[in-house]
């Protein structure tokens, strides 16, 4: 198992190199660069723009720029953001807490409710409960996130039950520990529900379909025939087999953990990575974009690895093949 993990990690290196080359080429091929906003500023002279081109290395060829960047990255220096003038990881760390708080709680919300609901729906196929849950889930899937977010904010403004967006209150520092936690939770509900309802429906439908398929399988009929209690048939046999594809889905979700959700973050004024990266893309803040792309690729690789390990853990057949 350990050898397998090490091999996967070594294989990830060429993948990351490829991703970085492609990303760098595509960003450089896009018209213009970070200095375009300076070029259109009436109070900045041409000499000054040329001096900054030299400073940022824009006067060199793309290949030279890439290798300069790569040699710095190998030494652990991911470069400075052109806009903020601070190392890119200082910026990303600053956003990490809010990003993870939102994505992890959304994940718990969506998976925690989606899987049980899916199981319930499958076991009560075509009942009134199943129909109601499916109906609500489809509403969740079909309302665009930004619109749901705006509706939520409007509701909050009218009722005062929830804050009108934001991450923490302005008096956060004066609160006790529990006050702080409560304040954070209070702000978290809106974006969590917005993002969660969109994912929940997919998870629920997936779980329902998988379980229904498995309930039709011969081994279930066999288990029932040999007189196994129905509870055990479902828990130990049907669900265990139905959960495999769901775990593969978790791998991809982990990759999306850091990506953030730009529109929802914007509407809720949530200080996550999504807004930071979108601004960086718009301004062609090269090194910040590169760092966030690399980070997402790493998360995707790790997410897949974790999903594979989890699969091996729940499925003895895979464990057998790996060893």
């Amino acid at each position: 198992m350990l050898r397998y993990i090490v091999r996967r990690i070594i294989l990830a290196i060429p993948v990351l190199l490829g991703v970085s080359i492609l990303a760098f080429l595509i960003i450089s091929a896009a018209p213009g660069d970070f200095l375009d906003q300076y070029r259109l500023n009436p109070s900045i002279s041409k000499d000054k723009v040329e001096q900054m081109e030299r400073q940022f290395g824009f006067d060199k060829s793309v290949v030279v720029q890439y290798f300069n960047w790569l040699s710095q990255v190998v030494q652990g220096n991911f470069g400075y953001s052109f806009t903020y003038r601070i190392p890119v990881f200082n910026l990303i760390w600053g956003r990490l807490a809010a990003t993870l708080a939102l994505s992890i709680s959304t994940m718990i919300f969506a998976w925690g409710i989606g899987i049980p609901l899916g199981i319930y729906s499958a076991l009560h196929k075509y009942s009134f409960g199943d129909q109601t849950i499916s109906f609500i889930a489809f509403i969740g899937i079909s309302i665009p996130n930004f619109f749901f977010a705006l509706l939520w904010l409007f509701m909050s403004a009218k009722t005062g039950w929830f804050p009108i967006g934001g991450y923490i209150s302005t008096n956060y520092n004066e609160l006790s520990f529990f006050g702080k936690a409560g304040d954070l939770m209070w702000h978290l509900v809106g974006p969590m529900v917005t993002l969660g309802t969109a994912q929940l429906a997919g998870i629920m439908r997936q779980m329902r379909g998988q379980l229904l398929d498995n309930l039709k399988m011969d081994f279930v009929t066999f288990a029932r025939a040999k007189g196994m209690p129905e509870k055990n048939v479902i828990r130990k046999h049907a669900i265990r087999n139905a959960i495999n594809p769901i775990i593969t889905m978790i791998g991809y979700t982990l990759a999306a953990l850091l990506g953030g959700a730009v529109l929802t973050e914007s509407v809720f004024s949530w200080p996550g990575m999504g807004r930071l990266v979108i601004d960086a893309l718009r301004q062609q803040d090269l090194f910040l974009v590169m760092a966030s792309l690399l980070l997402s690729s790493i998360m995707l690789i790790i997410g897949n690895l974790i999903a594979d390990i989890l699969l091996a853990w729940v499925d003895p057949r895979i464990r057998f093949r790996l060893s």
Partner: protein, 576 residues
């Protein structure tokens, strides 16, 4: 008790070591205390004034005294003219107009308690502002017509002089508006060449200023807080040491709708609403206890530029034809654009200077430009264009008139102008191929220059002199007629330099030497007249300054406008 005596003694000695503060006295009398809650749409990008580029950063620095609010020699009045003494108590020119003198205010302290002295002033200019590499904007605005920087000399203890080779009013204005920097806090970074990495977003509380507020806390993406500076050097008419408000809190909101909801819920005390939302807010204003302000039109404006050196020489010929350009001045239905995108809260513009500026020349209105397709057709006819039987407009050589019009996608105002221009073209038998494209592509096409026509805007300011980079023939943004020396895309055989362009170039060189303000006014009036007559850039529309705020909030500015906004003289803002 003994301890207290020692503390008092130390305090007394420290205070008497410095000269008594020469306070600025403002003529307001308000109530101290309270918190002001404001919203901002983006994160500040840096707290370093010489590298800050966007308003999301400079709006924050305003409170600490940077960005020409309190920490420079001369401040702006309500009309945006530099007349208010700040760090300079007095200023004057030598008789030949080449040397400008400033007298430094005594006893001003930095927010960390260090005195602000002539050392700081010398450091600011010699070590930072005059060194091209040190700042984002470079040193070009301090240079005179011979591209020379001034010689700085300390005349006596409190007087400093800047000597240029020729009279240089523009340079004097630039010096007067320069924020003085604290040498004790920045000297090391300047010596290492790392000034750009100083006072970045992770060093907010390190920022030292001489403004009414000091940095308290910054949580990225969440809020920025400022508290009262107890060492501030202004008093009100009752002798109360300003500022009045205890704390300023900027909440960072991600989106205009969220900001509006927060304002309506009373979480924010002030908002600059969009023209789209303004009428709805104005309707509820009385019931909700808000003041609404519709100020003058914005200083910057969107305009259409035609490339005199377009890749196709046939088209260049049209674009160089003033009658062709004027046809568009008539053909654009500005009133309906203003109605559609600004809810009627805007005004048409026919020249490069906004009516909100003190330099606006009202005489250009006598040209009588207005929306009229008939006049547009007359103008085209005068320019040698005619129409075929099927209504297609053709030039004197029989070429059908068709051209490309670009703008950056995502800018609603520019997209609306483009759409209305294309439909005006249809009425004139001219095919205008309007395409909104990526901003960076527009910029590279503009500067190369390889475009036919573009709708774009530039930031404006009260003083037209700031547009030197656009209007001088050798300017980097002289986009409609770049000389062959600027770009290989312009062929020297085809290049034409009309006389009026030479005159505008002359005006922008002469104005820097016009020490008497009236002479500058007259020079700029002439330039506006030339532009109204020739229309090298077809100016379009500008939006009114809009503001809604809590009516118990007393602003120091009784007439907020684009040149002096809601927070002009912010130290005088108080709660009723």
């Amino acid at each position: 008790m003994k301890k207290l005596l020692v503390v008092l003694a130390v305090l007394f000695v420290t205070v008497s070591m410095f000269a008594a503060t020469d306070y600025v006295i403002r003529d307001y009398a308000g109530n101290p205390g309270g918190v002001l809650n404001v919203g901002t749409l983006g994160d500040p990008k840096t707290f370093n004034i010489v590298w800050a580029q966007e308003t999301s950063s400079t709006d924050m620095l305003d409170w600490i005294g940077y960005h020409e609010t309190t920490g420079c020699f001369i401040g702006s009045d309500q009309g945006g003219m530099q007349t208010v003494p700040l760090l300079a108590t007095d200023w004057w020119f030598s008789e030949d107009g080449k040397t400008a003198y400033f007298k430094l205010r005594e006893g001003v302290l930095w927010s960390d308690g260090e005195p602000l002295t002539m050392e700081d002033v010398l450091f600011t200019f010699n070590d930072v502002m005059f060194v091209n590499e040190m700042t984002a904007n470079g040193n070009a605005s301090y240079m005179d017509a011979n591209d020379e920087l001034p010689v700085v000399e300390v005349v006596d203890e409190n007087t400093i002089s800047f000597a240029w080779t020729v009279p240089n009013v523009w340079g004097w204005k630039a010096v007067g508006a320069t924020d003085i920097l604290p040498k004790h806090a920045l000297a090391e970074a300047v010596a290492n060449g790392t000034l750009a990495e100083k006072w970045t977003v992770d060093q907010f509380t390190d920022v030292v200023g001489c403004g009414p507020y000091v940095p308290e806390e910054f949580v990225p993406g969440v809020y920025v807080k400022f508290v009262k500076n107890p060492l501030f050097w202004m008093k009100d008419s009752n002798g109360y040491q300003l500022p009045y408000l205890d704390e300023i809190i900027y909440t960072i909101v991600g989106d205009q709708n969220a900001e509006l909801l927060k304002f309506e819920a009373g979480e924010l005390d002030e908002i600059g609403p969009t023209a789209e939302n303004f009428p709805r807010l104005a309707e509820k204003a009385e019931e909700m206890g808000w003041n609404t302000v519709v100020g003058g039109v914005a200083l910057g404006s969107n305009f259409i530029t035609f490339n005199f050196n377009a890749p196709d020489p046939v088209k260049s010929e049209w674009f160089r034809n003033a009658d062709f350009r004027k046809a568009w001045v008539y053909a654009l239905d500005r009133a309906s654009i203003i109605e559609t995108i600004y809810n009627g809260l805007g005004a048409p513009l026919y020249g490069p200077v906004s009516p909100s500026s003190g330099f606006y020349n009202p005489e250009i209105e006598e040209y009588g430009y207005k929306y009229s397709i008939t006049r547009a057709r007359l103008s085209l006819k005068k320019g040698g264009f005619s129409w075929k039987e099927d209504g297609t407009c053709v030039d004197a050589n029989g070429n059908p008139v068709e051209f490309e019009l670009l703008t950056n996608a995502g800018n609603t105002a520019r997209e609306a102008i483009g759409a209305i221009m294309a439909s005006a073209g249809e009425k004139l038998g001219i095919k205008v191929n309007f395409t909104p494209i990526d901003f960076n592509t527009v910029v590279s096409k503009l500067l190369e220059p390889s475009y036919e026509s573009v709708i774009i805007g530039l930031t404006g300011s009260v003083d037209p002199g700031s547009g030197w980079n656009v209007y001088r023939i050798d300017g980097g943004l002289h986009m409609w007629n770049y000389p062959p020396e600027y770009s290989e895309a312009v062929s020297p055989e085809e290049y034409v330099l009309p006389d009026w362009e030479k005159r505008v170039d002359e005006i922008f060189r002469e104005q820097t030497a016009a020490v008497v303000e009236e002479d500058r006014y007259n020079l700029f009036a002439e330039y506006q007249d030339i532009f109204a007559d020739e229309q090298p850039l077809v100016f379009t529309i500008a939006q009114n300054y809009l503001l809604v705020y809590d009516n118990t909030l007393m602003l120091a500015n009784d007439d907020p406008n684009p040149a002096a906004g809601a927070f002009w003289q912010r130290e005088g803002i108080y709660w009723k």
